[in-house]
Assembly symmetry: C2
Homo-oligomer: 601 residues x 2
């Protein structure tokens, strides 16, 4: 048997996908009829192999050798990135979820996301090129014309172009309503785009002959705010009607962002239409409207749930690999003696024997396996929303996904970052050095509470939008779904019933607290402590995910299942009780934040 | 008026030192009789000026240009470090607490530590050279012979040598009992030391002609464990009887550690007596015993409380400067609108207007000002222990300091690191880039829960040693001292009385919980959850520090005092309730950690 990977646990993925989520049952649906457990497992193994052989090996090297702009003005990456991207594309993984007619594998989203976990865990910096290309291509397929798919998506799938998402601007990050990039209609039906976009991952490089930017911009005289935003295809090199590359478009690299982590991936400030080039002899970057005018943000939101769940899964992947590495270290490093051993001449023990090291390992295990369960559960909801046979099931899945998305994004971003901090702590001083991997995971993971909506934004999204929409149907559905799990736990009896009762009590409180908070009569008061709400509901949701896992493990013997039971137990004893003080604070309609005079700081 | 510093708050230091701790009253003691409020303030201002002008400016540069070994085998630093060290030494700050007879300023410890805060906050990497030299010199003065003081301390005070502390070894970090470095007595009364020391800050460089290492080693046939450890002076260059430098000693740089943060300061692996040099034609590094044999750890512990409080103050300083910088950013950066404003054409607000940004600022303020109060309080206890007129007061201060030290070290290391994470979050994506300072503070601060005893070790120290010693006198004294504050708050009435009652209830629970935990009847069970105990007591202690500050601010008008009241209020409403779930867990004598089978991971 091959040695267990320190990137991710194949055994845990098998448990979650097959023993819990029963993803093979998806093959009864027409879209996945060509698949079987064997094809799912084969693509998972393919992902593991490529991530292990082509992404993990240069993770540290790419971190230590950031992208830079060479003398010729071109972006220089370590050469391993190009190879990794090529292997990924050649394996067909870029089109994993696409239709067979486009050369895709028609994989379920949940399987595709599980495959991607290996790459997130192996090397987040290098994943940005294929992963953003996938997101871009899926959006063009969903909303573009046949012609646009042929001219822009086909080259991406062939490894001749990569894709980006250009949303933020220097003055508009969380607040997309305030973007100022403009798109002016031309006589030939194309547009010319002018503006500056910030935080563009993969925004410039020489990996492929072209880069296809998806750019949010406003068409003059459109509606104010987010309702006036449209989405445009803006290639780095203009693409002719027959798909051949033409003139250099007016997309210019202003600079590379130098970050604490995620250093291997380029992150750029780009100018569009500022005159660095003049395609066709005229000003502005050549652009094509994707879909209808003023629908840009709607299209983006179409993929936003998936993208946000993806951020949570990425955070979880970093937490997971850090956990496995600190576990490996704790098993082999010896130091100190147990409190009951007063003999200084007795040999030191492996540090995994120390209670506090076990605390740090159990906490990590409960965070990363809980986060992974949540991310895969939400990924399956995407499949349910898209392919469930009954329309009512699709609608139910879409609603539940809407409610869970801010949690699936934020909870792992918070707690799997904490897992990485614990992984450093298990390593002691060594974990603080770049000789080990865990400090990089911690630096990389610190991005996740910031991008794709900050932690605070997701609190507002959950409490101010998801919980209130459709007269509160989202929260009701969530709590009902949790209660169904509680009933199964209750029927199972024993410890499962006890944990279920504990979860039931917390969820009952959440229902009451939500009513109290939303009944405050002032939106500023209702939403003042939305982040606390997000964190409390998040812990309850992950406790639910643990109860689901324990039910799937129930009656099964062996260290793996015992480990699940113990980590779940830990989460209920050590973590879930955190919600008490949070719900107390929310119940009090605390206005400490609002009452602050800014002169007091 | 000069613009407010973003390094540290002079106003807050004045409040804590003068309005709260009344440090000027120390001048009634003989040792400090030459001093006055004016001399204290002058040295504080001197520290601020030097830190601002000579340490802060190269903080980022030194981080980006780590020490490296040049072609000649010598360690290369950015040149600003040498200038900064020279200015610090020339100002006499190295001898701040030393006797006038040695050229010292005879400052109280609390004033000296307040001065040092400016340097911690300005540039932790460059502080290691002067700060470790001070610690080293103070130890030699305390335990060395007159001859050793003359030959080793005098050059340090003159800027001709720096000092280090060599405790850890590659296989012995937390467990000093297991060090293997040996010291063999020679015919002439000197020793020859052989072994390898890890994590030695300032272990090699060219800043000064000599480096004086204080090395823990075992003399053969001594007692086992920590009782057989002695302390040795091992200079990089052998020092003759007249103080002149002689042969190169056998201290060799094996390598530099490359860390996540604290990058500006060298951190080294050193070989002693491994044959790189042969002083006097013989093997082993020339060493002199400091004080008596087998007393090495006792001497180290003599300064350990101070060093550990210093780590907490260093963590606080990084948290403080990050707070000030994120506050400055939040006042000027505009983005988004309040929930009650539904008009997308209204102008964006400064982000300090958003409730969640206020949460992050108030949390930071409550952590860093609470941590600073705790660190200065403990620093004053050092003065009390050393110079209080009544022996009973000295004893009382020493005992209270013993109990508080694990908290003063660990609490800021945990929560001011969290403050730095919040400072990043306030900055959004910009905070994740190296264009701003806060990501470096976060990386730098991550060391503090690791060095000078890990977080877990301090839990064991508090619950397993400090709380139980002298029949529990330490905890009783701590709780009594808190109760005295509670009584003053109760007498003050109003909100102060309410907060006092809340603190009283938590402290009463801590007393009972401590008895429950220590009564478990099995040391492994009693200490299994010691980290949770450390964190719960830590929050109670900082709540006490806030009540003390609010009493000092009571009856005073103005934004500064209102800010103190509001941050204290925040701590009691948002932070102190965290202890509930922690004390519940401790009361249950939870054995989840002990019951873990390591095969379950």
């Amino acid at each position: 048997m091959a040695p267990a990977s320190l990137i991710l646990s194949r055994r845990d993925l098998e448990f979650l996908l097959h023993e819990w989520l029963d993803v093979s049952s998806l093959t009864s649906r027409e879209r996945f009829a060509e698949h079987s457990r064997e094809t799912f497992d084969a693509v998972l193994e393919l992902g593991e192999t490529i991530a292990t052989e082509h992404f993990a090996p240069h993770n540290k090297k790419a971190d230590a050798n950031e992208p830079h702009v060479g003398a010729d003005g071109k972006v220089v990456l370590v050469p391993e990135v190009a190879t990794a991207l090529k292997v990924f594309v050649d394996a067909g993984l870029l089109a994993g979820q696409m239709d067979e007619s486009l050369g895709g594998l028609q994989l379920p989203n949940v399987v595709s996301k599980a495959v991607q976990m290996w790459f997130h865990a192996a090397n987040v910096g290098s994943t940005i090129y294929p992963f953003l290309t996938m997101a871009n291509a899926n959006l063009v397929v969903a909303h573009g014309s046949e012609d646009q798919v042929r001219r822009y998506v086909t080259p991406m799938l062939a490894g001749e172009a990569t894709g980006t998402m250009c949303l933020s601007e220097p003055g508009a990050g969380s607040s997309l309503a305030d973007i100022t990039t403009r798109a002016e209609l031309q006589d030939d039906g194309t547009y010319r785009v002018t503006g500056t976009k910030m935080w563009i991952s993969g925004g410039d490089h020489e990996l492929t002959p072209n880069i296809v930017h998806l750019v949010l911009a406003k068409i003059p005289d459109g509606p104010a705010g987010v309702k006036g935003i449209s989405l445009f295809l803006v290639p780095k090199v203009v693409v002719g009607p027959d798909g051949t590359l033409g003139e250099r478009n007016d997309v210019a690299l202003v600079g590379l962002n130098h970050k604490m982590g995620y250093r291997g991936g380029t992150n750029t400030l780009l100018n569009f239409g500022e005159g660095a080039h003049t395609p066709g002899g005229r000003a502005g970057a050549v652009a094509e409207l994707l879909g209808q005018p003023h629908q840009g943000l709607a299209y983006m939101f179409h993929m936003m749930n998936e993208a946000r769940v993806g951020v949570g899964l990425g955070a979880t992947a970093l937490g997971y690999t850090g956990y496995l590495k600190s576990l490996d270290y704790a098993r082999t490093r010896t130091q100190g003696r147990l409190p009951s051993d007063k003999d200084p001449s007795s040999p030191p023990v492996a540090i995994i024997e120390h209670a506090d090291v076990r605390r740090m390992l159990l906490a990590q295990k409960s965070y990363v396996e809980g986060g992974l369960a949540l991310g895969l559960y939400c990924s399956l909801l995407v499949d349910e929303q898209d392919t469930a046979p009954e329309p009512a099931d699709r609608e139910r899945a879409a609603l539940l996904l809407d409610v869970l998305t801010p949690i699936a994004k934020s909870w792992p971003s918070q707690w799997c970052l904490e897992a990485n901090s614990l992984a450093i702590q298990v390593h002691g001083g060594y974990g603080y050095t770049r000789d080990y991997d865990v400090e990089q995971h911690y630096r990389d993971n610190r991005l996740n509470p910031i991008h794709e909506g900050t932690h605070g934004i997701h609190g507002l999204d959950l409490l101010g939008r998801k919980v209130t929409m459709r007269g509160g149907a989202g929260l009701t559905l969530l709590l009902d779904t949790v209660e169904a799990t509680v009933r199964r736990a209750s029927a199972a009896g024993g410890e499962l019933a006890e944990l279920g009762a504990q979860l039931h009590a917390v969820c009952e409180r959440i229902g009451k607290t939500t009513a109290t908070v939303l009944g405050a009569g002032d939106p500023d008061v209702s939403l003042a402590n939305a982040t606390v709400y997000l964190e409390a509901v998040g812990h309850a949701v992950v406790a639910w995910m643990w109860l689901e896992q324990l039910l799937a493990a129930n009656g099964k013997d062996g260290a793996f299942y015992d480990g699940k039971r113990h980590a779940g137990r830990f989460f209920y004893r050590w973590e879930l009780p955190r919600t008490g003080a949070q719900l107390d604070l929310l119940d009090s309609l605390d206005t400490t934040l609002l009452d602050t005079d800014t002169a007091w700081f």
